[in-house]
């Protein structure tokens, strides 16, 4: 036997690390090569095929009508989501209410608005005047005091907002309901044991905790909404897709303008994804011990150590 080291190892000497040959991953290399070849083929076609019309696209992508369309798409998304979330919260609370009339009404709303295509709903809102020429205010089945022309009451902009917002509310109410149900019952019990009212419990204790579950699918819905706004071209209401299509048909170059529109949508959804990351991070406070670093913090940590 050789002289063995004493069993009590000295603190100053760290134990010898294991030296082993790492597992090889040949599959990864094969996949990498295959994907690299496919990517090279795609880039080559994008660059060499003149039908992409990059120059033409660049000339038109930032023209005033397109930029106006981008702005319309953005605020239409924001406004529709606002309607959807506000109404969705109300519907979710109604649905969970012990009052059978309220919960039944909320169920019916979701059934109708989730069960029909949003495109059909948009067209119906846009053409409501052919169903009801006039809308009047007064005593039900009695005298009428104010009479409005439906066409004036619901201009295309209102039809677009109603169609998108009311449809979204049906989806949002289910998302928010799931969020509320995900909060432990002990939370509302503790809150009511402290003498807080049902509304206070909901607003201060349950909804903030439901947000953790609600935010990711809501981000999903917002990104989906940004693209769904392209359907309001059928109301008809002028937004990004309407404008790029118009340029496409006017210049007999429809395809390049479709790519332009896609690029714009992709850019906008990318920005939304960044926003979603930070919102999720905010609502994670308290439920994780240390918040994960933001990408900017990660970059700083990697490169600019001196700065911190």
């Amino acid at each position: 036997m050789s002289t063995s080291a004493p069993t009590t190892t000295k603190r100053s000497e760290p134990p010898e690390p294991i030296k082993a040959i790492p597992v090889r991953h040949p599959g990864r290399w094969v996949a990498m090569v295959a994907i690299a070849v496919l990517a090279a083929m795609f880039v080559n076609s994008v660059v060499s095929n003149p039908n992409w019309q990059w120059g033409f696209q660049l000339d038109n992508a930032f023209t005033p009508p397109v930029l106006k369309g981008v702005v319309t798409t953005l605020w239409l998304t924001a406004a529709s989501m606002l309607i959807g979330v506000a109404l969705g919260v109300a519907l979710a609370i109604m649905r969970l209410s012990p009052n059978p009339v309220l919960s039944g009404a909320a169920w019916f709303y979701v059934w109708v608005f989730r069960g029909t295509p949003v495109l059909v709903q948009l067209v119906i809102w846009g053409n409501l005047n052919s169903l009801y020429r006039q809308v009047s205010l007064g005593v039900p089945f009695g005298p009428e005091w104010f009479v409005f022309e439906t066409r004036d009451l619901i201009p295309p902009i209102a039809a677009a907002l109603l169609g998108l917002g009311l449809n979204e509310a049906a989806y949002m109410s289910e998302i928010i309901r799931a969020g509320i149900l995900s909060v432990d019952e002990g939370q509302s019990e503790a809150s009511s044991a402290l003498g807080m009212s049902r509304m206070q419990t909901l607003r201060r204790i349950v909804l903030p905790q439901a947000m953790r579950v609600v935010v990711p699918p809501t981000g999903n819905e917002t990104i989906s909404m940004l693209k769904t706004t392209s359907l309001v071209a059928y109301v008809p209401y002028v937004e990004l897709f309407f404008q790029t299509s118009a340029i496409g048909s006017r210049t007999f170059q429809p395809f390049p303008m479709l790519v332009t529109a896609s690029m714009w949508y992709l850019a906008m959804t990318s920005v939304l994804m960044v926003g979603q990351y930070y919102i999720e991070r905010y609502y994670a406070r308290g439920s994780v011990r240390n918040l994960p670093p933001t990408p900017i913090q990660k970059l700083r940590r990697r490169f600019g150590r001196g700065e911190t």
């Binding site: 432990d184 002990g186 939370q187 019990e189 503790a190 809150s191 009511s192 044991a193 402290l194 003498g195 807080m196 009212s197 049902r198 206070q200 201060r204 204790i205 903030p208 905790q209 609502y283 406070r285 308290g286 439920s287 994780v288 011990r289």
Partner: protein, 259 residues
């Protein structure tokens, strides 16, 4: 609360019955808790002790009998010989005076310890922020967590969380404290710190009803001990008598398992 200690009992239960569906959980409970008394309730799981505790602040509704706190019926108003169900807001007002501590703490995870404590005094009682914050800080110090006000519950140990939960209930300045197995979810070495806080509370004269499995605490701190089994009070008396000289076979059988 400037009223002098009332002559009547703090809690009075007369023939309290409760059913979960067709299962009778409470089969006629009669109990009285005097002001400043510490009553410990023990018994096997499923005996109805936690349910009875939750009836006292109307988290559970009783189906028969009468249950009053400080002379006032819980959850109902009596006018003439008729009972009227209370509105949610009236029940909430009754609960302002009754603190409750849960087995699983039920701290609000999205709020710091301090925010947990000041939430209900600010929102439900409408007290001013400065007064409440000062009182909350004193309570945090009293439970030994004066420097942890900014910590979130997930950053605290179980024992620390339960002490914050006790401070949260105390900040409402209740006249009665209900403890529902406050140490059952804790690691053994953390039980002591919570019991110490409860012992202090008993010393300053808080009326307490404690559902517990801590026989040592019941013997040392409790003024009375109630043994419940199968929805009835089997035996009641001073902790020393019940623990060392149980009269009923069911009590003997239970104590032989836990002591």
């Amino acid at each position: 609360m400037t009223t002098p200690t009332p002559p009547g009992p703090m809690v009075k239960a007369e023939q309290v019955h409760k059913w979960f569906g067709r299962f009778e959980v409470l089969k006629g409970i009669n109990l009285e808790v005097a002001p400043r008394e510490v009553m410990c309730i023990v018994g096997p799981s499923g005996s109805g002790k936690s349910t009875f505790l939750r009836c006292i602040n109307h988290l559970e509704r009783i189906h028969s009998g009468r249950l009053s706190v400080d002379g006032e019926l819980v959850g109902y108003r009596e006018r003439g010989d008729k009972l009227y169900e209370m509105r949610d807001s009236e029940v909430a007002r009754q609960r302002l005076d009754i603190g409750m501590v849960f087995q699983r703490f039920n701290l609000f995870p999205h709020m710091t310890a301090m925010q947990n404590i000041v939430e209900a005094p600010l929102r439900a009682k409408g007290e001013s922020k400065d007064v409440v914050r000062e009182r909350a800080q004193k309570l945090l110090e009293r439970v030994g967590l004066g420097d942890r006000g900014d910590s979130y519950p997930s950053q605290l140990s179980g024992g620390q969380q339960q002490r914050v939960a006790i401070a949260r209930a105390l900040c409402m300045e209740p006249k009665l404290m209900l403890f529902d197995e406050p140490t059952s979810a804790l690691d053994p070495e953390l039980v002591g710190e919570v019991l110490d806080v409860m012992r202090q509370l008993a010393e300053v004269g808080m009326t307490m009803i404690v559902v517990t499995h801590e026989m040592g605490f019941a013997r040392e701190v409790g003024d009375s001990l109630v043994f419940m089994d199968d929805g009835v009070v089997v035996e009641e008396g001073s902790p020393r008598d019940v623990l060392s000289n149980p009269q009923h076979n069911r009590t003997k059988a239970f104590l032989s398992k836990v002591l």
